[in-house]
Symmetry: C2
Subunit: 472 residues, 2 copies
Amino acid sequence: MDVQTQNSQLEKFFNPSSVAVIGASNGLFNLGATICNCLKNYIKFPGPVVAINRKAEEVSGYPGYSSVTDVSHDIDLAVIITPASVVPSFVRQCGEKGIRNIVIESAGFSEQGGEGKKLQKEIDDCAKQYGIRLLGPNCLGVMNNVTRFCCFYGAYDGIMDALNKAGGVSYVIQSGGVGVVIIESLMDDMQGINKMVSIGNKTDVDEADLLDYFNNDNTQVISMYLENVADGTKLMKAASRVKKPIMIFKSGRTEAGTAAALSHTAGMANNDVIFDSMCRQAGIIRLKSISELYSLPKMLTEMPLLRGNRIAAFTNSGAFGSISADIMVDAGLTIPRLSPETREKLSKIKGVFNVNNPVDIGPALPQVYLDLIDIILAAPEVDGLLLMSSIWRDFVIDVIKEVIKMCRHYDKPAAIYTPNSISKIISVRKQFNVPIFDSMEEAVRALVVSYEQLRYLRKKEQYIGADFKERD
Amino acid sequence: MDVQTQNSQLEKFFNPSSVAVIGASNGLFNLGATICNCLKNYIKFPGPVVAINRKAEEVSGYPGYSSVTDVSHDIDLAVIITPASVVPSFVRQCGEKGIRNIVIESAGFSEQGGEGKKLQKEIDDCAKQYGIRLLGPNCLGVMNNVTRFCCFYGAYDGIMDALNKAGGVSYVIQSGGVGVVIIESLMDDMQGINKMVSIGNKTDVDEADLLDYFNNDNTQVISMYLENVADGTKLMKAASRVKKPIMIFKSGRTEAGTAAALSHTAGMANNDVIFDSMCRQAGIIRLKSISELYSLPKMLTEMPLLRGNRIAAFTNSGAFGSISADIMVDAGLTIPRLSPETREKLSKIKGVFNVNNPVDIGPALPQVYLDLIDIILAAPEVDGLLLMSSIWRDFVIDVIKEVIKMCRHYDKPAAIYTPNSISKIISVRKQFNVPIFDSMEEAVRALVVSYEQLRYLRKKEQYIGADFKERD
């Protein structure tokens, strides 16, 4: 199937006109009912929704049927959340009804081995027969914050708030638990989610299919949590076609981690060295922690890419200059000596303590900050800035806003860290929509990742023109 | 000088009966005035305070004199915050007045080389002549949250709030900027500060002297940020005498970091490999980031020490089991296979998904959590627990509180991480006073550090008796 045809079928997962929730009933702790409730009361989903259950009972005000084949209107998307054993028969009914998109949220398939494996093969074969695309099984479903659609089971208020905060990052996650951390954490940040898909056992739709999909929608950065890669060649080919930054955090690096992943989403063990080299060849940024999945995208959406590895650090406390120098050296960035011209210009500004890189200042007025940073960003020996000033007065926030404009002007990025408590960082970041990182380590990683993406784009430049030159 | 005599002199830095602020005036932006303001309005310091300035003018309601020698009552502590060039004459006046404790907050000494070095030598010689103990120069001063004393210049409301939250950790910091981050960050945590000393250029009182002091007060954990170590042997000897956990984060690991540190607090370059081996020999826990200075102490104050490296992980989302297994392996912890007896006991509890280590559960009631965790902590093949459950219902907080009691009962620690947004973690941690870490990585580090301290105590057992056995 060509990418365009596939994408238009996948589109129905994110923007269905009508939905059937198979397994939604009024029983105690029924998970399907939580999906109906979300569609009805949070999203106020504009199209028809039906609940499928044995008693054909109404759920959350949506009409009930005992089978999708009893429904008269067309159904774009079926969400199945029943015991695993009855899933195959429902998939078949969906096929007969003409439904071509199914999310299977039920667990109890390959991840349990034996009988579960057989069941998964059965639904897989049935889906192929009808031309159905499957998401899951053993997944959380789909969230689209742009058009406001969500079929996550058990979503609570905290999750639903995210539907009101659309942004540029799309997520593919192999675990609902990680999805929840990402969603909650981005509510503490300035960036928002575009779409999120939980792929679980990924018997059909996988991360490679979704790369092609997100390459062609309004996503700016693609960020993934994977526990295994079943088809490495497919992932590599898809990644090579994608110009947008792709970031992947993968668990199961170690033998113990792999063993744990096996019993979670039924992934096959992968050799970590091979995966690492695959990422480098295909232009995938490999992440080091869950938190990087949500902390780093803002560097790529808010700042120009880093076109060389020469970083100037600027701080209002000498200690941060010294500590960040250690971190930058470890990360493979260089801390260039500033040219005599640059140093002379800096030394003319009153309030500067140290005109060497890292540059540091004492208590100074906003214009002193801006004059110094302008000189640093203009310097040809500097590719990017590590800005570390505590918010000791509110005007530092205004300085940060100006620096963001300067970065666009000079086409050089700044990674910003404000040495304050995390609660202060969060409140400033949210209120003023500025890309502040939680720690110096994270800010340095943001520079590294920005430079990595620049170099990947250069490698892929046959696809995208010669816009992304490194600086000498 | 013997330790006891020295400590009783150092005591006056933390608990003076009377204070002179030399350089406090009513001039615009005068830093000495911020100290007077803090003593008068925040702390309501009960003893006499005087302001020393050219015009002998009153500051914040405190009487002014042009010299300490004009003051009729005794003065325990002088805080000098004047231009560097006049500091030596004030030190001499203090000597004549009989003042034996001076904090010099002014900058412009060794860290600037040349003339500054000479000035520092001058004050040093003068202090020795009079038997004065000096803190600084180029420092922020002293904070004591137990008796509520503080002579930091420029302290703002956020800092002053910390004076109302005393705790068990004492800090020695070579940079005011790092001190501010620590103070603010602990306001987001459950632990509080006992005392904080900023040592700056440490011409006299240094980290080793303060180790001896904090070894004999009510401090529970000693945590230090250093840019250089001038006398390694002295530090090692002092550290060997200390039973309390000592944690040090040191910048200047790399050449670039050292260069930056030199122009900040005038430290000499140290070989990082030597420093590292020194820490191991002297029983000092070496930290990897600023944030560990404030995030890790709670593990040592709230939990028993880890007596072996075999960790059981428990989670309500399989992904965290797999990811944490990778992190634990990297950190040198082991993830033991649970014994057939333990697994049989676990499998009898309804709601468990996976009775292998990492143990994971689905949505379950509180008693299920507690039954499983009780079995795990009781298992002889397990030395400690990594507990990772999202707070998906409020009862998880009650579970955490019960687990803390169980840990004390079994004398095994739990490192707790709740996979939620950091703002949720902070709010739960503060409201319920539970030691939750900000990330899985941090929780694993807490286990590593706990085990490191246990092993250091074993090495030092000639000083402390044979209480701290490892488990086999």
